[in-house]
Amino acid sequence: MIKIALAGNPNCGKTTLFNALTGSNQFVGNWPGVTVEKKEGKLKGHKDAVIMDLPGIYSLSPYTLEEVVARNYLINEKPDVILNIIDGTNIERNLYLSTQLMELGIPVIIAVNMMDIVKKSGDQIYIDRLSEKLGCEVVEISALKGEGIKEAADRAVWLAQQNKKTPAVHHFQSEVETILNRIEDKLGSQIPNEQKRFFAIKLLEKDDKIVTLMNVVPNVEDEIKEIEDMMDDDTESIITNERYLYISSIIDECCKKNSKGKLTVSDRIDHVVTNRFLALPIFALVMILVYVVSVTTVGGWATDWANDGVFGDGWHLFSIGTTDYENAVEEYDRAEQILVAFDEGEDVAQIMDEEENVTETVTLNDSVVSKANEIAEAGEPDPSEFGVWVPGIPGILESGLDALNCADWLKGLILDGIVAGVGAVLGFVPQMLVLFLFLAFLEACGYMARVAFIMDRIFRKFGLSGKSFIPMLIGTGCGVPGIMASRTIENDRDRKMTIMTTTFIPCSAKLPIIALISGALFHGAWWVAPSAYFVGIAAIICSGIMLKKTKMFAGDPAPFVMELPAYHMPTVSNVLRSMWERGWSFIKKAGTIILLSTIFVWFTSYFGWIDGQFRMLDAMELDHSILASIGNAIAWIFTPLGWGDWKSAVAAITGLVAKENVVGTFGILFGFSEVAENGTEIWTMLAASMTAAAAYSFLVFNLLCAPCFAAMGAIKREMNNAKWFWFAVGYQTVLAYAVALCVYQFATFFTTGAFGIGTMIALVITAGFLFLLCRPYKESQRLNVSSVMSSK
């Protein structure tokens, strides 16, 4: 089996080439224990060759996760050949990585990409001369147009079969070479000859990650000191300088630039898009478009269709008949209300239109009543009589199970446990795909880098990237795609921080909780909903500041020295592929945890002891369930938060399945089998059971604590590391608890003047917060990756 490693800078067309070389034969995963994506594929047309797509990197330095992952692979796995793709329009910087790859003692073939653009702009790259100067195979390709790709692949396979190492022919100035030779001699026999130059350079550069790959580490301090004194610079800079000097020395002979000074199309686009005055309005427009399409309109419809249609009652094919059906339902409700009023002997009927929240007064006379009778007698409208009705999966399964005379518990398990769980996983996918389509396009066309450029100033203050804006924005709709959108952030620390904080923003499923609390305890006061968003944003900012100073995060340096790639039109197939890969990875990696936890909550809420007998319960017997016992057992934990009764605890737990469940659960516990979305029916009961301070603390806790299982699944998938997953969920819950406690205690103190032990604790917590926010902090200089990499 021939192993080909595909290496190159970010934005050089590597993914396009990889897709073209492998077709659909790809395996996407993560490098063990880290958030970096790993892609492997079978080479088309060569049965016995596989390609490993290494992360896009600029250098083999020890400072970014991607670079460490890539070089550890190259050194440990020793691929048979490195296919180094370089961007022909940006050849100087791309060759910088090539000079490093050629020192590894592995055959190297360079594929100069985007040759069509180079030629179009009137520039010239002399492939033969480049090959001669670099001492390795060089071919020209255009990955986008598919030109030269097969030749490049064939050449790579041929090179691997020859098994001839590519010797590094580039040389640094003689002083540096002398020192390197001395270090190479010190390495002895533990390092194979062809890798000696690489190890010598890394030792000279004081690269602390290289030591983990060596058995015996020779002492090279004398050499380092000697060369540093001689050249008055540190060794890392000396080597980097030498590489670029070498590249500059050969580039003039190999390339001819005719386009210098001319503005390209990309330059002109950028002139407008990141213009001082237009940049922010354009940014706002793009974001509004992304939001409207992927959250409120297309994405929202898709989610509704998946949740209420496919995994709900059913849906009308192409929506034909939906409006007629809804009108019929409305008319039926109206008739029922009229009849109720008539039966009670009223002269007029007050008819509530829940959707538009208006009350209509109808005078009851014979004709109105008889018409209402007529409608009511016809029975409740059946959706299947309108248009083409496609029943939902639960409905189909239920009738099937009924026909089989299936036991109740099994039916419950399948319908309320498994199908509901699968629905929770798949229900988010359509919306996610819409969002991922946008993200893939924005990334591929080059605008995503500009988003970071424009927003960096605001977000870096609290340890986030400018690109964190998009996950947060999407998070207001749904946290699940929000978390998945963090994939676009290339810095590991920023990405993890974004994953941890995105769900603090109230998502649409939390709105019913806000409506419930605001309606029940605050008479629908205007400030409750905005304050929820304020709490969410404050939680993100404070978390950013606190977390970046913790041990978990302080390890990783985060320089913001970022390439702004040229704008270009991505291909449809690449965008679609990227969209699908992300959607699929969510289903695969997040699915299990979501499914299992949904089944667990189903089991605990539908089974319990009644009159000393353990049996399956009716939905209305929730207060006898195992879940209620759990609620009872843990309710005391929430006493300091003001809502230490088991009902609230149970509601908070069912909220983990989906946040909007909180309202429904309260409804059931107060004796209503069904309540409106904002729970109007139970407002008075809820108001009687807790104080305003407790209610607001309950709201804050549910907004900030561990999100729903689907979002937790997404966190698990994106963190790709059990430790980080638990750290994220644990942090969210602890923060929610602390903030809710402070809210309740301080609100109680200010409204009643009661000062107790709780108030003291709240004061201590506040002091702790302030300390964590204000303590001094120094950016680390070292990538803290060794522990992660070795834990595989």
């Binding site: 250098s59 330095s61 300088n241 960096d456």
Partner: protein, 73 residues
């Protein structure tokens, strides 16, 4: 002694040397900002930071704090 941070948009300058050490310096150098290279300061982000420069024929953005590590002519 001027640093890149002080250079106005539209000016081209030559790098004399880089100050500091560690990952940020290495990263800046990896991206092609080394002794003697010419840098064209292209624009400043709408919120005043970071800046966009052209170096070795491509566009690079870096923060002003990092730009102040780069000593130019």
């Amino acid at each position: 002694m001027r640093t890149l941070k002080e250079i106005k948009c539209g000016d081209t300058v030559k790098v004399i040397r880089l100050e500091g050490e560690g990952p940020v310096k290495r990263r800046i150098m990896d991206m092609g900002i080394t002794k003697g290279v010419e840098i064209f300061v292209r624009k400043v982000a709408p919120l005043g930071d970071p800046v966009e420069v052209t170096v070795r024929g491509y566009e690079l953005s870096l923060r002003k704090a990092d730009a102040s590590m780069i000593i130019v002519e």
